[in-house]
Amino acid sequence: MNTATVIATKFSGLKLPQLDGTFFSNAIRLVALPAAGILAFLLLWSVTAQNIDTSLGKFPGPAAVMEQFNALHDEHQRSREKEQAFYERQEKRNAERVAKDPNYQPKIRAYTGKETFLDQIITSLVTVMSGFLLAVAIAIPLGITIGLSQALNNAINPIIQIFKPVSPLAWLPLVTMVVSALYTSPDPLVAKSFLNSLITVTLCCLWPMVINTAVGVAGIDKDLVNVSKVLRLPALRHVQKIVLPASVPMIFTGMRLSLGVAWMVLIAAEMLAQNPGLGKFVWDEFQNGSSDSLARIMAAVLVIGLIGFLLDRGMLALQKLVSWDKTAN
């Protein structure tokens, strides 16, 4: 057990019953207590919800939200069926025309129905991961270079310190304008809105990752650096064999931190800029103002939370897979 958990159990004031078998105490700790917590929350939620009246009706309780989950699922199914039908019709029409006139070049149009909830989830996920990976590709080499060179650290540190506290949302208008100005290909590979969201995510991930990587690299045990010096490892091998593995725990700390913040910021950016994604879904529902809107927004909130949690767990699993330091949690 690591010290954090020890301290947590010591000071939580909540004394777990000392059972003989660790199985029972584990079962209580891992299943019963969380289940009780969730149950209490649901109860509190439904009671509170009943007592809040909004202009769009009562605040949705768990039951109403569950209903909307089903509705959203059905909508998605129907939309997919429509899409399927659309493509079938198009194919058939094209086949007929080719049969009549062998020189006819069949036109293939993409289906342009409204995005479903699931589509929005996928858009947001793809955006956050792309922005995150771009940030990784920039931040880790940069962080390592800064961590290795005190001079470079002194030069770049003020810039990082100034940009770090800036909310990436403040960048959003600038990013939007720059992208519109520079990204003018007639047949764009990706949509401008996607690029805007992606760059916002990248900006948001960059600083924590650069800082953590640099701190990790600068803080490598001096003895290990001396080992490398005695062996006369060339610079690249030194980075590969000593620096990278030694700072993997810190790098991952930075990556998890950024991904968590990036997910929050992305939703806000999508709302603000009306870029496709979960944020747009929430905003559209809010503008829509039907009696189901609040329940649908609440459903989105839960999904956003769940995805944020899964992203963090995913990073942790990756860290455990990659890092030699198995004590992370």
Partner: protein, 292 residues
């Protein structure tokens, strides 16, 4: 006796916020091929500093280190270091830790199979074959130190530098390690400089014991030649009058330093570097006289 390593009149000053701090002044020592020399002295006197200068990790402010006729200017595998806290790479197994060194030193001259054999041979030498695929956090402190020694030996260094290699170990493990080290030394005839705090360890292992005065501006106070026949056995030596005489001499030196540590060195605090050297020379003479 041909000199392999010449530590020639080195001074070491560290820049500190309060001005330069003179850690070493005029440390001068010649070491022959195959000799086992231990450095002993009170904590903080500058033993590690001497070792780091020889390793090339520090640059002496004055004087220099000459190894087989060439001046030492940077660290290198011909002066392998065994660090006090093993400093194995925690993400590599024992085998891989040694492999990193072997690949770097012999990568061009040995084939894959030869390297493998050489790594295993060195791990065998320190009796670590059974656990060579374990990581540092899966083996005991003594085992880690063994791997550290294997890694250093595998570089086939001209000089093996050891900074309190057994300092963190319990007495029993320590005795084991000392015996292992003597065996290896008898087989390979390495040239070794070892720092220790342990008087018995120094007498048991060394050909010469270099006793250092207290810092600041520490220097060599006295050198004791240990003429005990090899192989040495700790149990037999316990009753050997000569052994006990050596032991007493080292203890006496350390005790005198400890009871009045300031007397000989106070005069040569680093504040007046231009007047200090003469006094240091006097100090050395004084201590040698004392000991004689």
């Amino acid at each position: 006796m041909s000199v392999l390593l010449d530590i020639s009149h080195i001074d070491m000053e560290f820049p500190t916020p309060k001005g330069p701090f003179t850690a070493l002044r005029d440390v001068d020592l010649k070491i022959a091929q195959g000799e086992f020399v231990s450095l002993i002295g009170h904590s903080g006197c500058g033993k590690s500093t001497v070792l780091n200068v020889v390793a090339g990790l520090y640059q002496a402010t004055r004087g220099g280190v000459i190894l087989s006729g060439k001046e030492v200017t940077e660290p290198g595998p011909e002066r392998a270091v065994v660090f006090q806290n093993h400093s194995l790479l925690p993400w590599l197994t024992a085998y891989e830790n040694v492999e990193l060194a072997v690949k770097q030193v012999f990568g061009k001259n040995k084939s894959k199979a030869e390297m493998r054999e050489w790594i295993e041979h060195n791990l065998d030498l320190v009796h670590m074959s059974h656990a060579m695929h374990k990581r540092p956090d899966e083996i005991s402190g003594g085992m880690k130190q063994r791997v550290g020694i294997a890694r250093a030996l595998a570089m086939q260094p001209k000089v093996l530098l050891m900074d309190e290699p057994f300092g963190a170990l319990d007495a029993l493990t320590r005795a084991h390690m000392q015996d292992s080290l003597m065996e290896i030394q008898a087989e390979l005839n390495n040239t070794v400089i070892m720092i220790t705090h342990d008087v018995d360890e120094a007498v048991l292992l060394s050909d010469r014991i270099v006793m250092m005065t207290n810092g600041p501006a520490a220097t060599i106070g006295e050198i004791l030649q240990v003429d005990l026949e090899r192989p040495r056995h700790r149990l037999e030596l316990a009753d050997d009058p000569l052994y006990n005489q050596y032991r007493a001499k080292v203890l006496k030196f350390l005790h005198e330093r400890h009871s009045k540590p300031d007397v000989p060195t106070k005069k040569s605090v680093p504040a007046k570097p231009n007047t200090a050297p003469a006094q240091t020379a006097g100090d050395i003479k004084e201590t040698v006289d004392n000991a004689a």
